[in-house]
């Protein structure tokens, strides 16, 4: 209950302040957001797009965490958690790709142009797709759990090449790439004013709580389903 109320307040605040606060070139009052050259009003996407991308990675790591636990314990409840996290990750990954593509259309002029960031989110999508096609190809429950766990761990050790290394070392259009005139590195370090940071981190926390809530709902539903199947 506390979780739901906190989540409701946080998300409402993020939506109201993230979209509603005015932007000015020389911010004076606490409520004025700075104008970032080249991004302007389009910078507001950072409050929503970055948390979804963040969640698609968090979900991926959660899935890997439960995959390792499954391989150690051979307890099918861990497999339920692993696949539930992957399912949510796929959803947030699609959301991040779509919001990013719409933003790219207005900022760069086309929906898709293989910026290193776009390549990395595309790979993440492919991995989620491969993970679920592998799961659908195996009938026996234990075998499916083992194989998909192994695959998600293998994917998790190769994905950092994309998410964390490549976008920073390759020149690209995405804010924070190599060649960005204001420097490569996390955007929060050098482009955001304190009030933007407050909204941004509130949004990250809110989305993480949202993930936590959706994850526990999915796990409970899947466990009830598994329980019912066992009883016939």
């Amino acid at each position: 209950m506390v979780l739901k109320i906190t989540l409701g307040v946080l998300l409402t605040a993020v939506i109201v302040f993230g979209i509603g606060l005015p932007m000015s070139p020389h911010p004076q009052a606490w409520y004025e957001l700075p104008v970032i050259p080249g991004l302007e009003e389009k910078a507001r996407i950072i409050f929503f797009h970055v948390p979804t991308a963040w969640l698609s990675v968090i979900a991926f790591l959660t899935s890997m965490f439960y995959a390792i636990r499954y391989l150690r314990s051979r307890d099918l409840r861990n497999d339920i958690r692993s696949s539930a996290a992957a399912g949510l990750g796929l959803m947030f990954c699609i959301l991040a790709t779509l919001t990013g593509a719409v933003w790219a259309k207005f900022n760069w002029g086309s929906y898709w142009n293989w910026d290193p960031r776009e390549t990395s989110i595309f790979v993440l999508l492919l991995i989620y797709g491969a993970y679920f096609s592998l799961r659908s190809a195996v009938e026996v429950q234990e075998k499916r759990a083992t194989l998909s766990s192994a695959y998600s761990i293998i994917a998790a050790v190769t994905v950092p090449f994309f998410i964390f290394i490549m976008p920073r070392i390759m020149p690209g259009l995405h804010p924070g790439s190599k060649g960005d005139p204001e420097g490569a590195g996390p955007v929060i370090d050098f482009k955001m004013s304190p009030n933007m940071r407050v909204i941004f981190f509130a949004s990250l926390i809110a989305f993480t709580l949202l993930f936590q809530w959706m994850f526990s709902l999915r796990v409970r539903a899947a466990e009830i389903e598994a329980h019912n199947q066992q009883r016939g």
Binding site: V123, L134, E142, K143, T146, L147, I153, T158, F161, M166
Partner: protein, 231 residues
């Protein structure tokens, strides 16, 4: 001897035995080698036909070489594990050798296979495709060598997964592609540098990426293999 507890010398001997077993059975049928060779020849012929008398840009040809190599690997490298399932010899092999020996033996076999096939592919590609020019041979040689090792490493563990699933053929490239993309992107970039005539040191970043990729994939798959291999 309990698996995993074997001393290093005994493990190396069983790795060699598994490798020799695969090697001999391959020599008997020559299935993988002939299938792979025919695949490479067909693909290069298709590229030649589709290009016709038109030349393609050097960048496109550099990338196309790795398209041929990737799909050749996808058509033949799952064989080592799928073969055991089809013949029903998985159980015997599980009893006869520790998982680590099976994994490294198969990895070695795939490595030999993929290195040989890549050498032939590169040779045919350089002979028949006009416009494919390598100016810095040292970069290209290291790229093909590291690329072959990385390709063998990633494809062996995916093959082990795929052999246990029901649909073997179609799923193999689907599962392999996202895992292999870091490797493909860096070998393509390095090949481009080789054909532009860059200095050896300029490809250092790609080589570092490839070496760390190989280490990460081999270490993690040798740890995971035991779980996949034993039901």
């Amino acid at each position: 001897m309990p698996p995993g507890k074997a001393p290093a010398g005994a493990l190396l001997r069983s790795v060699r035995t598994v490798f020799l077993k695969d090697w001999r059975s391959e020599l008997r049928t020559r299935y993988a080698v002939s299938a792979l060779l025919m695949f490479v020849v067909t693909t290069i012929a298709i590229i030649l036909f589709s290009l016709g008398s038109e030349g393609a840009s050097s960048d496109a040809l550099d990338g196309m070489l790795w398209v041929v190599i990737f799909f050749a690997a996808m058509s033949g490298l799952s064989r080592t594990f799928v073969m055991e399932e089809e013949r029903g010899t998985t159980l015997t092999l599980q009893l006869a050798a520790p998982p680590a020996a099976v994994f490294f033996g198969k990895l070695l076999f795939n490595l030999v296979l993929v290195t040989g096939i890549n050498a032939v592919t590169v040779l045919l590609y350089a002979l028949f495709i006009n416009g494919f020019v390598i100016r810095t041979v040292s970069i290209f040689a290291v790229t093909v060598a590291l690329g072959s090792i990385a390709l063998a490493a990633a494809s062996t563990i995916i093959a082990a997964i795929i052999a246990r699933a029901n649909t073997r053929g179609t799923l193999y490239p689907v599962l392999s592609f996202p895992i292999m993309l870091p490797l493909l992107l860096s070998v393509i970039e390095a090949t481009r540098k080789a054909s532009e005539g860059a200095f050896f040191a300029e490809a250092g970043g790609e080589f570092q990426l490839l070496i760390s990729y190989i280490v990460v994939v081999v270490v993690s798959s040798s740890m995971l293999f035991e779980y996949i291999w034993k039901d």
